[in-house]
Subunit: 203 residues, 2 copies
Amino acid sequence: MYTLYDYLDSGNGYKIRLMLSQLQVGYRYVERDIMRGETRTNEFLARNPNGRIPVLEIEPGVHLAESNAILWYLAEGSPLAPASRWARAQTLQWMFFEQYSHEPFVATARFIIRHLSADHPRHAEVPRRQEQGRAALAIMDRHLDQHPYFVDDRYGIADIALYAYTHVAEEGGYDLSPYAHVQAWIRRVASLPNYVGLQQRPA
Amino acid sequence: MYTLYDYLDSGNGYKIRLMLSQLQVGYRYVERDIMRGETRTNEFLARNPNGRIPVLEIEPGVHLAESNAILWYLAEGSPLAPASRWARAQTLQWMFFEQYSHEPFVATARFIIRHLSADHPRHAEVPRRQEQGRAALAIMDRHLDQHPYFVDDRYGIADIALYAYTHVAEEGGYDLSPYAHVQAWIRRVASLPNYVGLQQRPA
């Protein structure tokens, strides 16, 4: 049985929880509080030297880090995996877009606002991050104007990767009303079978 | 024939040039000067709405962005592709590590130093970026202490992704002497057949 090392408010961790629920795969859930340094202990660094959640323990002592690599691993052989060479390429294009051009802005603005004290100096970063986050949302919106999902017009791991922080972007001070196609896609994803919410603690 | 839209000094673009050389695949090379806004024109944004090089044109009108997605696409069916589910997972783990925990620090410090004027305010970012870049180099060094390459003890696309900016880290003000295993790996990669250098302009 898989063990997921995670922090409940993390969208990166939520990607894995959402996918495991949709695949109806059971797992053991172990929370590590990133705000209390629990991902910087020797115990945790032995699981992921980069000191970040989520980490999936595949079997005792065998760990996989990086949320999007975990999605790819879990998807293989499932209906959520891209089905052709071109679909695999486009799926990874969107997943790398998510980690480089979306997460550092959409997720980090939310993190600063939700988790750092009001007088923390990192609040000064928020306007610039929001500006870059809006650019990412606009790119997504233009794509979703033509397509119901990101790749091959069917739901897959590129959608999961992008959904995780997009659907809670308002918690990072974003206004999603200019992005009608993003909003419609969020509603489509949230209505899929075996959906779970970000704050829904695994059993 | 592939067309690669690229900027010669880009390590992300160099990943593709190195791989195509090693696979002995010919391609058309089209330079777009990122310092002159040539990736923000309507012509370029139609190829990649995110306005970034490299972009690989697979066939007329069919484009793929994100350097690591391009590596994955090109690798399929070649000896540079990971050969098992677990190797694919580890390869993607290192490639997402590269884009999230390495490139924004190792590459961006180099970019600021090489391409922005001495009085540009972004020089203030360099010390903090270098600190995070050193953390990434230390993680790589510990892995390479035990392994000749990143995945399955053989050269593959995870190595290409990490090599591109690591081997020119000194141009971003990094001292590589504390990372002996990284240095040995750099020498191993540079001695492989059909190697090309970052500044080597394609024919």
